[in-house]
């Protein structure tokens, strides 16, 4: 089957790739572009481990086709830190130990970034519902919610 030529922007860089018409954006990121920060936990949009931001919208990259990235802006976990300077959410996840195994962490960070972009001062309930599309099996979410609360207060002050 002939490949589809796609021209897109990933974490601010122009990127071109060929993919199959039925290939997910997650597979393109992981298998063709070496961006393995997004994880496949289910492949059906239920776990959020593959969360990325596509033109300012949080999506499960397993539910997006690679071809749909044409002309769009893709943001992945690999673009979250600026050089060696971590994003406040990344820093607060470390300080609060908001991860144990860490496999859901990239997805949670993208979802939390999207949440705070739209609601810079969320209540605990808003955080809990805002992150309800991301599954974590290790932490019971307690420290994740606290990390997002702390990051929100740091980002407001910045």
């Amino acid at each position: 089957m002939a490949g589809v030529a796609v021209s897109t922007t990933i974490n601010g860089d122009n990127v071109e790739f060929l993919c199959q018409p039925d290939e997910t954006l997650l597979d393109v990121l992981r298998d063709r572009l070496g961006l393995t920060g997004a994880k496949e936990g289910c492949g059906t949009g239920d776990c959020g481990a593959c969360s990325i931001i596509l033109d300012d919208r949080l999506v499960c990259s397993c539910l997006v086709l690679g071809a749909e990235a044409e002309g769009r802006h893709v943001e992945t976990i690999e673009g979250m830190a600026h050089g060696d300077r971590l994003h406040p959410l990344q820093q607060k996840f470390l300080e609060h130990a908001a991860l144990q195994c860490g496999v859901c962490t990239p997805g949670f960070l993208m979802a939390a970034k999207d949440l705070l972009a739209k609601n810079p001062d969320p209540t605990e309930e808003e955080i809990r519902f805002g992150l309800a599309g991301n599954l974590c099996r290790c932490t019971g979410y307690d420290k994740i919610v606290r990390a997002v609360q702390d990051a929100a207060s740091v980002m407001k002050g910045a």
Partner: protein
């Protein structure tokens, strides 16, 4: 120098602090490499064909069409994994579970596998494999499987542990019994007796990362395996045995692990990937889909448990007994036995008896899940204990305090306890503000206790000191939840240097001696013991080198706060030598400085917890909301308290999911109906409140710092604590887990109708 593991009651500098974990930055930036994040040049994609039938004889498998498909490089069946287990029944079961040999024993059982140039070709090839099945009658329910009329899953199995050897085969592989005293006499002394039957449904560990590996077998007989596992040394042994390799020729590297909870202690895909790579002559990457994870890996047992407990009017339990039936999947296990051992472990009992039955069913092979078998037994026992307290008219906490096991108590499973934490956790709960907080309409509070043995086991650790004085700590226990941080703290404590000066890594199987896997809450317990031992061996070398540099007897050199110090007034002119100074001179004083340790970490201290839970029940719909949750648990010594809290919270959350939502649902056709996260619903962020924790520290006398395992106990009390809360809120005793809305509504309606 012999290592002395006894508790020494020292004051700590590093242990007990909360630094950022050494693997943290990689995990928040997406750089950490998990099972599926590794690739090798020229690798193929492996895929597995699975039985759609719960029970079927495999008459024939025709792979010829698949083999002819362009891009297919290898197709394998059980014929490519010959039986090399040499009479080892447990290994034969593992082999048969990896690839069905004569019969498919559950929906999802592997029957063939392919390796192809890409995923699309591999999927196409699976469709071209023709399997001729003769479908057999099946049984998936644990109670149904025990009936004489049930379809036999393995006609070579005769129940072990009966007084008379049975003449007919059975789905019950084994009967076990624990206890002491005379329960008939004990029940004779009772003023009150509660007798109840309980059921719990099967759940999955639910790790977010599916099983994944990359296997590369060379024609010279050596191989590499990259894999997400809780125990790469154990995987090496199992894979080497199943494939007929020498263990040392197979190097296994453990990736970062995206959750395991017991589910990554067993090989499934790894021998298949190695066999595919061997046949294709190329590396093969094999990653399970979520559907495969649910249908073919994990899960825990489904159970059916009868409990009977009697007590006097004064609240003293006089007798307790339980009969526990646990599903094992289609292969023999010891799951009911573990349940029988743990059921009454929290209590001081004169007369106690538990009986376990291991039951075969056409479901996936039961795997360990965090304190395996204990949560279900605790659910049954702690529900009955609550009911008995109510009948006597005693507060449930006071009733438990009165009967709690103590130091010197002979446990219901045999051993006599040393210093233990059940009493202190109950006292802490009694005094906790949570117990006094007001409750609203339709709200109920429950509490329950839990026990887990904890485990130690074989452990090997290397501590190497660089010429710049920085320290590499190589451990062989996979880090599932922050143990590299806690072990670095332990090395810093022992050497007397800053945490930041240490870098801990998990070494591969060719770089370190054998280690048991990270299970039984042993990771930090056993590897910290080996780290302390290795550090003390390194300190001995450091003292010798300092003595050489000063030209004084080594017995005059002591180690304090990261420095060698010459002891005695005659050495007043000798300034202390730092670890860095000694390391810098090492090239001239005898070469590299290191400490090694190989030991069996005995004496893992038993662990107890008590949980409190508030639940609101909607009497119209049966839906529930967790309002407040508190965990009180003994850690012995919390090395990194934040990660100890994390273990408490995570176990509680898994228990909440098990209690209220999660279950394997099988259709009449024996097929799993909910193999995905949409229909098998684990708790999400909006389902839970904050989970409060209180860490108690009752030192383990068998560890230098008093450490006990902390990982598993936290999943033991939740099923019972929540069941007690729901029962109190709804006004009806709940006896079937999970307490999903339909079950709660049915119970409420039955109570109203009755």
């Amino acid at each position: 120098m012999n290592f002395d593991p006894r508790y020494s009651g020292r004051n700590f500098t590093s242990v007990g602090t909360r630094p950022i974990r050494p693997d943290g930055v990689d995990k928040v930036t997406g750089r950490a490499r998990y099972g599926a994040d590794f690739n090798m040049a020229g690798q193929l994609v492996g895929r597995v064909l699975r039985s759609p039938h719960a029970h079927a004889t495999i008459r024939k498998i025709d792979t010829s069409k698949a083999e002819k498909l362009a891009g297919v490089k290898a197709v394998i069946t059980a014929a490519d994994l010959p039986d090399l287990t040499d009479g080892d029944a447990a290994m034969y079961d593992i082999l048969d579970n990896c690839m069905a040999r004569k019969k498919a024993l559950y929906d999802g059982h592997a029957v063939a596998a392919v390796a192809a140039v890409d995923a699309r070709t591999a999927r196409q090839a699976l469709k071209l494999i023709e399997v001729d099945y003769e479908v057999l009658p099946h049984v998936t329910d644990v109670d149904e499987a025990m009936k004489h009329s049930a379809p036999l899953i393995n006609d070579a199995i005769f129940t072990e542990g009966l007084e008379q050897k049975p003449v007919k085969p059975s789905n019950v592989t084994k009967r076990t019994q624990y206890g002491h005293g005379d329960i008939h006499e004990g029940f004779g002394q009772a003023d009150f007796v509660v007798e109840r039957s309980f059921k719990t449904e099967q759940t999955h560990q639910g790790y977010i990362e599916p099983h994944a590996c990359v296997a590369n077998v060379s024609s010279d007989g050596t191989a590499d395996l990259w894999v997400c596992t809780q125990g790469h040394f154990v995987y090496r042994q199992h894979c080497a045995q199943l494939l007929g390799m020498e263990a040392s020729k197979l190097r296994v590297t453990s990736s970062e692990i995206g959750g395991g909870f017991g589910g990554k202690t067993h090989v499934w895909a790894e021998p298949v990937a190695l066999a595919l790579s061997r046949k294709a002559g190329r590396p093969v990457k094999l990653v399970m889909t979520r559907d495969e994870v649910f249908r073919a890996s994990g899960p825990t047992s489904a159970t059916s448990i009868d409990v009977r407990i009697g007590a006097r009017k004064d609240g003293t339990i006089t007798a307790a007994e339980a009969t526990l039936r646990y599903s094992c999947g289609p292969y023999a296990g010891t799951w009911a036995e573990i349940g029988a051992m743990t059921a009454f472990a929290c209590y001081k009992l004169e007369n106690v008896r538990t009986v376990g039955y291991e039951v075969l069913v056409n479901r996936p092979k039961t795997a360990a899940y965090r304190a395996p078998s204990a949560p279900m037994a605790a659910f049954a026992v702690e529900s009955a204990v609550d009911e008995l307290a109510k009948e006597i008219g005693m507060d449930p906490v006071e009733f438990r305090i009165r009967n709690a096991a103590q130091e010197g108590t002979r446990s219901s499973y045999g051993p006599v306890y040393g210093p233990i934490g059940i009493g202190p956790t109950l006292e802490a709960v009694k005094n906790h503000p949570h117990m006094k907080a007001p409750l609203g309409k339709n709200q109920g509070r429950g509490m329950a206790c839990g026990f887990w043995f904890n485990f130690g086991g074989q452990t090997c650790t290397d501590l190497n000191i660089g010429m710049d004085g920085s320290v590499s700590l190589a451990v062989g226990t996979v880090d599932v939840g922050g143990s590299r941080a806690s072990l670095s703290l332990v090395a810093a404590e022992e050497l007397g240097i800053p945490y930041e000066q240490i870098k801990a890594v998990v070494a591969d199987t060719s770089s370190l001696g054998y280690n048991d896997m990270t299970d039984g809450s042993r990771g930090t317990f056993s590897s910290s013991m080996a780290t302390i031992s290795a550090a003390r061996n390194a300190i001995k070398v450091l003292r010798e080198r300092a003595a050489q540099m000063w030209d004084i007897p080594v017995d005059d050199v002591v180690w304090e706060k990261g420095h060698a110090i010459a002891k005695g007034e005659k050495y007043d002119n000798l300034a202390a030598l730092s670890l860095k100074e000694i390391a810098a001179a090492s090239g001239k004083t005898g070469g590299p400085i290191a400490g090694h340790s190989e030991l069996v970490a005995d004496g893992a201290g038993v662990s107890f917890a008590t949980h409190i839970c508030d639940i609101e029940v909607d009497p119209e719909t049966g839906s529930t909301r967790v309002l407040r949750y508190t965990v009180v648990q003994d850690a012995g010594k919390a090395v990194h308290p934040t990660y100890v809290e994390g273990q408490y919270q995570g176990g509680a959350a898994q228990g909440i999911g098990w209690a209220l939502n999660e279950e394997y649902i099988y259709g009449k056709d024996g097929r799993l109906q909910n193999p995905g996260f949409l229909d098998y619903r684990i708790p999400v962020c909006s389902d839970l409140p904050m989970i409060d924790t209180q860490i108690l520290e009752i030192p383990n006398p068998n560890h230098p710092y008093g450490v006990r395992g902390v990982g598993e106990t936290s999943i033991v009390p939740p099923l019972a604590a929540i069941a007690n809360a729901v029962s109190n809120a709804a006004g009806v005793r709940m006896t079937h887990i999970p307490m999903s809305p339909p079950r709660i509504l049915a119970a409420i309606e039955a109570e109203r109708g009755g």
